[in-house]
């Protein structure tokens, strides 16, 4: 078939390219902060707070959440073409637009995570908060720790899943148009959160706990990814074509194939490493070698999450219905 098209917009021809690494980075960082928020709630609530006792990360992780989120928001804000109009997002509620939910959700997530941070701030360090209003809040909110933990947990799940819902709602982009995508994104976000927690926790039992959590999450991802590709392969022709960049050995699709290959290598290795970490007999505290191995497997998980976001954002824009 010989096709000549006159009047094409570069933005959508030969394929869509409206979203780039900035969006991918936001998806990753947003997911990371969401997963981390969930993990902090788990940390504080588990065993009635016993897990968090004396754990440095019980304070730092909660503070990391809004920081990581802010960095991610910077990137997504940079992607907007008319940044001065951003306030319109908060004058509108569009119940059918996942992006609208997201913008409002992010608006709620911030105060929830900050209030949660204040609520879980240890009593003996409260004076470090300096501002009297913050100290006052910290005192008052500590009574509502459980409720705020639930809110924080809920917001984390929401932020972790809504980006997947957003992408999956585009019928025009068959690669994303899968019901499995939101679940995959959420799992990846939780896994990243757990991995990050592992890295910043200082107590062995906390690290090992989240290692166990992470193993389950990575195993879930390792089931979901092939299922996702299978689901696309057995769906319509456009869906089948949409996953071809990942499975085509060619110059044009080099990065997609390599990315998938890396994932196929990273996740099993990470799982095995983590499994070994659990099985091993550790001393009172972890040796630097063991710490390095733990950090390595955590970093691998984070890289895996980044690869997923980058390749899906770019490959999704290659896919089209017609």
């Amino acid at each position: 078939m010989e096709i000549t098209v006159t009047g094409v917009n570069q933005l959508v021809t030969p394929h869509l390219h409206v979203w780039d690494w900035r969006v991918s980075l936001y998806l990753f960082l947003g997911g990371l902060s969401a997963g981390l928020a969930v993990m902090t709630s788990v940390l504080h609530v588990r065993k009635g707070g016993a897990l968090a006792l004396g754990e440095r990360a019980s304070v730092s992780a909660v503070l990391w959440v809004p920081v990581i989120l802010s960095v991610g928001m910077l990137f997504i804000f940079a992607d907007l073409e008319r940044k001065l109009n951003v306030f319109w997002l908060y004058l509108t509620v569009n119940p059918l637009s996942p992006m609208s939910w997201g913008s409002w959700g992010l608006l709620v997530f911030y105060p929830v995570s900050i209030l949660y941070a204040l609520a879980t701030f240890p009593e003996n360090r409260r004076h470090q908060l300096s501002l009297s209003i913050l100290i006052w809040l910290s005192e008052k909110l500590s009574a509502f720790r459980l409720q705020l933990a639930a809110a924080n947990f809920g917001m984390g799940i929401f932020i972790g899943i809504y980006t997947g819902v957003l992408l999956s709602s585009f019928v025009a982009r068959p690669l994303w148009n899968s019901a499995l995508l939101p679940v995959l994104f959420l799992t990846s976000a939780l896994s990243a959160g757990a991995a990050f927690m592992i890295m910043i926790a200082d107590q062995k039992r906390v690290k090992l706990f989240f290692t166990k959590v992470d193993i389950w999450l990575i195993l879930a991802e390792m089931v979901m990814l092939p299922l996702f590709f299978y689901g696309q392969y057995t769906s319509s022709g456009a869906h089948r074509d949409s996953i071809m960049p990942f499975f085509t050995l060619s110059h044009d699709y080099f990065w997609y194939g390599s990315g998938l290959l890396l994932l196929v290598v990273i996740f099993p290795i990470a799982v095995v490493l983590k499994f070994l970490e659990i099985r091993e007999e550790h001393g009172e505290s972890l040796t630097s070698a063991e710490l390095m191995k733990m950090n390595l497997s955590a970093v691998m998980v984070l890289i895996g999450g980044l690869i997923i976001r980058l390749s899906f954002v770019y490959a999704g824009q290659l896919s089209h219905l017609s």
Partner: protein, 185 residues
């Protein structure tokens, strides 16, 4: 309330691009950007060849993914049919550009907001036809009110077999195509 729609009779199109230029002039579309395009497709092996000419534009869908994905309500479906954009509300997130299965939208390079065909809503208000329809040399583009049984679009749809693009996407487009792919008898 009128229900505006467009019918494109591909048999009449000669791929002259008059619509492409007229639209750009009428709507001050920046250089390098377009609200409508023309495809010239040829299949077969010499000398058994078949040609299809088709112009494409925003379909002003009844179930528009660009509208329900817009976080600021900038994209909206007007009562009489055209899908329009309140430019001052657009934040440039490009969700609508990504959501459109017809690649109908673009980001206006000069201004930053999302943009696309408006069925020349400003001309419809004055009782005129959209610019592309007015200038179409082949009279291939037909525009009118589906609610009026005697309008050009209603008559064209009644007397010809017609299709829409990407029907499986569930967008319920308002642009209909009368096409003949192989050589007419």
């Amino acid at each position: 309330m009128p229900k505006y729609a467009m019918v494109i009779d591909q048999r009449r199109c000669v791929a002259c691009m008059a619509c492409v230029v007229a639209c750009k002039k009428e709507n001050e579309v920046p250089p390098g950007q377009f609200r409508t395009r023309v495809l010239e497709m040829v299949e077969g092996e010499f000398p058994m060849l078949r040609m299809e000419l088709r112009s494409e534009l925003c379909n002003h869908c009844d179930n528009p993914p660009c509208v329900y994905n817009c976080p600021t309500g900038a994209s909206y479906k007007s009562e009489d049919g055209p899908v329009l954009l309140k430019q001052n509300r657009c934040v440039g997130c490009k969700a609508c550009v990504a959501a459109c299965p017809y690649d109908a939208r673009y980001i206006n390079e000069d201004k930053g907001y999302a943009d696309k065909c408006t069925f020349c809503a400003h001309r419809i208000k004055e009782g005129k036809q959209p610019a592309c329809v007015a200038t179409c040399i082949g009279k291939s583009r037909i525009f009118g009110d589906l609610e009026d049984p005697n309008s050009a679009v209603s008559m064209a749809l009644r007397s010809n077999h017609h299709e829409v693009l990407l029907a499986s996407a569930g967008t319920n487009p308002r642009v209909f195509y009368i096409k003949k792919f192989s050589k007419p008898e």
